[in-house]
Structures are given as C-alpha cells and as structure tokens.
Amino acid sequence: MFRYILRRLLQMVLAFFGTTLIVYALMFAGQGDPIQALAGERPVTEAQRAYLTEKYHLDATGVGGFFYRYFDYVKSLLQGDLGQSLTGRQIGDILQAAWPVTVKLALIALAVAIIFGVTAGVVAGIRRASIFDNSTLVLTLLVLGIPTIVLAPLAQYFLGVKWQLFPPTAGSEPTFYALLLPGIVLGSLSLATALRLTRTSVAENLRADYVRTARSKGLVKRRIVTVHVLRNSLIPVVTFLGVELGNLMSGAIITEGVFNIPGVGFNLFRGIRTEDGPLVVGIVSVLVVVYLVSNLVVDVLYAVLDPRIRYE
C-alpha cells in the first residue's frame, strides 16, 4: 500500500510539470508582445518597457528564454506565489474568494448525484425492466442528451424567472439557497451517469456467483443485497464520484457563467475572454493540483475498497 501511494505521488509530480508546461506554452509561446498585452491600449514608455523586460526576463528569447521564464514561474508557484493578473490583483486573492463558492457548488452537485443518482441506480438495478427502471433510463438519456449550455438557461428561465422557485442568479456573495438550482443543474449530469453506472453494476453483481453462494448460506435477501451486492457494486461508482468531484471542484464554466456565480470557472472564463495570461495559467495550475490530488484520493480509496488492487 505504501509503495502504491509513493508510486502515485511520483507520477503526480511528472503530471504536474507536464500540464503546467503545456498550459504555460499555450498561453505565452505564441504571444507577440507581452508588454503591450499587459498595458492594453495605453502606450508604454521606454523606462517602463526596460523595467518590465528586466522583471519578467523578456530579454532572453527563443526556446531557452521560454524555459527560463517557465522555471521562473514554477519557482514562485512552488513558493505559493501565483503572481498577479493583468488587472493587477493577486491571483491568490482571486482564487481565495472564488474557491469557497465553487466548492459549495460542487458539494451540492455531488450530493444531488449521490442522493438521487446512486439510490435510484440501486433500485433500478434490483428491479430490472420494471417501470421504474425504464423511466429512469429515459430520463437519464434525456439529461445526458441535453448539453449544460441548454439545460442551465432552461432551468434558469423556468424555475428561476417564470415560476420563481429559485433565485435566477447567485450574485457576489451567494447563499446556499441561491446555489441550489445551479447545483442541481450541475449535478444532473453526474446524477445521470452515476445512476446508469450504479444500475449496471448492481444488476451485474446480482447475477454474480457469490450471490448464489450467499443465498445457499441461507442469508436473508436484505443482507445479500445490502452487504454482499452493494459492497461490490459501489466500487466503480465511488471511483466515478471521486473523479467527478475533481471535475466539479475545477469549476463549472458554463453553469457559473449562466447563473453569474463568482466561482473558479467564472474567473477562468473571464481570464480567457480578456486574454489575461497570468490569470489563466495561475488558475489552471491550481486546478491541475486539485485534480491530481482528487485522483490520488480516488486511487487510494479504490485500493481500500477492492482488496484485489491492494496487493498487486
């Protein structure tokens, strides 16, 4: 188990450098004049230009110069300094404000997926080909078929504006209630996938040989399902939900955009739109770490749940 985690940690280091390098390259390698981009429309004086060139090591050119600046960036990143956005704000501060909102939204979405998706999936798996099973199949296909960019405005219009059950937008300091509708919209995709996955897994495990053994031991049906079948069925579901939490934590660009939620995805989208290189790279770097950590947690969890993985 220790070696397993150690190996995963080493892989994480590689993945971290790989992804940040690519994002950094995509954002800056093709840029014409970064100083002009920083200044925007305003003219740049010679003194300013010299100062910025010195500060950002822009005098080094070509591939060598790129790597020079990249390592500069990683060095300050490892010291916890994400740098400044082009608007002059500390990226660390921006994230500090945005993150709690996104985490709240992600947790609501995940809770929706677990409470409704997994539960309905278990029931559908046990009652295969029942009315319940078939109607969840249709509903989940519908949800999976509608892109968020359609679903979110629809939900906002009907539930938020027309019937006024929820606030249509969240605003700068969103309450739990204001995040509920976006959370449900965001979670509906995870919900549908979790439901299908759970249903298939439960149905498959109900037919497994060990279930026949459990029955021949004379166990009551409830125990067979809740102990033997569920324990096995939930292994892939937990894995999926773990990865999904990583996805959700990295912000939902569309949902946060539609409902005007000042989370991570919202800021990332603004960074991309305003060509704010440092902001985009800063956010993505942190997202990479979040994603890698959540994947590590999933892998460890997987090994805990499935003893066959543990000893390989």
């Binding site: 004379g218 292994i235 499935d306 003893p307």
Partner: protein, 345 residues
C-alpha cells in the same frame, strides 16, 4: 465453545421407511425470449443418510439445475418449477414458504460450487465469510464465529488457518479456495452436502486431494452427499450410487459397481467407452457421435435416439420408461437388457 466437529445424524431424522431427500418427477423449464427450454423433465432420485449419490451428465443435462432446485436458489424467472416434489425428511420443500426454505439452506442442505474464486465474495476476508453464516444463522458472537471459522478451516486442512483467516479469496490457491468453500458449507453441520462439480476448475492432483477430503468429511461428519460431475473418473472411488442424466432425465440409475461393470443404457456405455484406457495400447478413442440435444427442441421418443447405436423405430416413437433391472437398477432404454448383456466386461 464446545462445538463438536462430529455430529452423527440420528437415525430418527429420517421418517420411517422414507428417504432423507427424495425428488419425485421434478419438471423445470426456463422461459426465455427465444422460447421455453425444458431443462428438467421428470427427475426422480433419492438420497439416504450417510450415502453418496453421484449425478453424472454432460453440461446442459440438468444436473446443476436439479441441485439448485433442491437448494431453492434457482433464478425465477427465467426458471419455473412446473411440477414435482422435493421431499426433505418427508416434507415437500416446494410447498414451504421462502422463509422456511431459507432455514433449510446451509443448516440442513448445504452446497459447494464449481469455481470457488467467483463463488466467494472477492471483497471480504475468508474468515469473515465463513463466520458470516455462523453469526447470521446461529446468532454467534463475532469472537465465537471467528474461533469456529478457524476450527472449520483446520477441519478442511488449510495450513496455518489462524493466520490465513484475514486473507482474501484471491490470495489462496485454487485448491485452498475450494477448501474454504467446503469449510463454509460445513459451518452449520448440514445433513446433506451438494457438491456441484467441486473439482472441475482444479488441477488433476488437487482434484484427488479435494475428492479425498470430501469423502473423509462425509464419513467423519456422517453427512449424505450429492456429487454432481461430468467426470466418471471422479465418481468411482467416492460414490455409492450413480444417477446418469441426459436431456433433463435420469436415464440410468445403479450402484457404482454394477454400473461400471455393465452399463445398461447406450449413453452410459458410450461414456464409459470414451474413457481412455491405460492398459490397451494404440486403441482409437471412442466418442459418442453427435451433440447434446437443444433443450428447446428435445427429440421425440427417447431423447438419446439421434446419437444411439441401438436405435430402432420404437425409440423415435415411444418415450422409454424406467426399466427395473433388479438390485435397484433402472435404465430408461427400450433395449436395456440387451445393452447390459452386450457391455458386461
């Protein structure tokens, strides 16, 4: 904790004149989208306390389905028990409630399966799985169940049982896994043990060890055993009687000795002749021509007639009844006498 590992079945467990377990004219079919497969077509056999009955047949002959019907673990649907009786200690299990049948499972009649790797739950330690039966069925405490699980693992000769109790099924070898399976089945001191191809998934040397273990345990614990197999070689040393199944029927039923000596059904005869013999050199291996019947379209008359070397018009037209040949032998063949006289060896 004074769980004796040897618990002789009192003779009174079997009602006067009756058998411990008796199947009467059992019919089972599987209703699928493709049609109705008639899997069991009137199976009758019986088992007395302390004896071993071997049920022999190819895959698809209905031998495992019969066993699962006895246990009450058939998947319904698609399986439907059309008619028949399964009498245990004189009472028909098929008329009992599901709860009453559950009480019988494991405690009265226990079962072990072919592939112990898939038959054991992969995510629980073996000791936990053996102990689960004791905790759930006998209300034993965790500690007691654990101690008893170690005893049972010792009983089936798993080396270092106390150390291996926390191991998972995949950490055992095939033979050891099957022993775990057996230990689990023995947990509640059942009177009948059904072993469904217990050695099919194992190496030949390990097969012999498991068969010896089963024979020893059956004797020491005074259980009755139904041994389901397709391997005539496995049967010889262990069984008292043999029931040969074909297309969901018992086509021949005899004690082991006379069946090996002179099979009275062409199918059994074919099976025996298809065993390669070590004492005859350069002999071509004989086989039974043709394929087992499709259970959705079982041939008319005797189901074996398309493959039978003795076939006559009567075999195509008339379903043969069980012909009693003396010594409790029966054969469902129109020419049973003839076949037997032919095959004395």
């Amino acid at each position: 904790m004074t769980h004796s590992t040897v618990q002789p079945t009192p003779a009174s467990a079997t009602p006067e004149g009756g058998h411990l377990l008796e199947l009467r004219d059992l019919h089972v079919e599987f209703r699928t989208n493709e049609g109705v497969a008639r899997v069991i077509n009137g199976v009758s056999y019986h088992l007395d306390a302390g004896e071993t009955l071997a049920v022999l047949g190819e895959s698809g002959s209905g031998k495992s389905v019969t066993a699962q019907a006895i246990m009450g673990i058939l998947d319904t649907p698609p399986a439907v028990i059309r008619s028949g009786q399964i009498l245990y200690q004189g009472q028909d299990l098929l008329t009992r409630s599901e709860e009453q049948r559950r009480q019988v499972r494991g405690k009265e009649i226990a079962m072990i399966f072919q592939d112990a790797l898939s038959a054991l739950n992969p995510v629980f330690p073996v000791g936990w799985q053996i102990g689960e039966t004791l905790r759930q069925r006998s209300g034993m405490s965790r500690g007691d169940a654990r101690r008893r699980a170690i005893e049972l693992m010792d009983l089936v000769k798993i080396p270092g049982a106390a150390k291996r109790i926390g191991d998972y099924p995949h950490q055992f070898s095939g033979g050891m896994r099957q022993r775990v399976m057996i230990a689990m089945a023995l947990a509640l001191d059942p009177k009948v043990l059904i072993a469904d191809e217990p050695t099919t998934a194992l190496d030949v040397t390990v097969q012999a060890q498991i068969m010896d273990l089963l024979a020893d345990l059956r004797r020491d614990l005074n259980m009755a055993m139904i041994l389901i197999t397709h391997d005539l070689g496995v049967v010889a040393g262990v069984a008292d009687r043999i029931a040969v199944m074909y297309a969901g029927r018992i086509i021949e039923h005899a004690d082991v000795r006379s069946l090996y000596k002179a099979p009275a059904h062409p199918y059994t005869k074919g099976l025996l002749e298809s065993i390669p013999r070590m004492d005859v050199r350069g002999q071509e291996l004989s086989t039974i021509k043709g394929l087992p019947p499709n259970l959705m379209r079982i041939p008319s008359g005797c189901p074996f007639h398309p493959r039978c070397p003795y076939v006559q018009q009567v075999c195509v037209d008339v379903v043969p009844h069980d012909l009693v040949l003396g010594d409790g032998r029966t054969s469902a063949c129109h020419f049973a006498q003839e076949v037997r006289d032919d095959s004395v060896r």
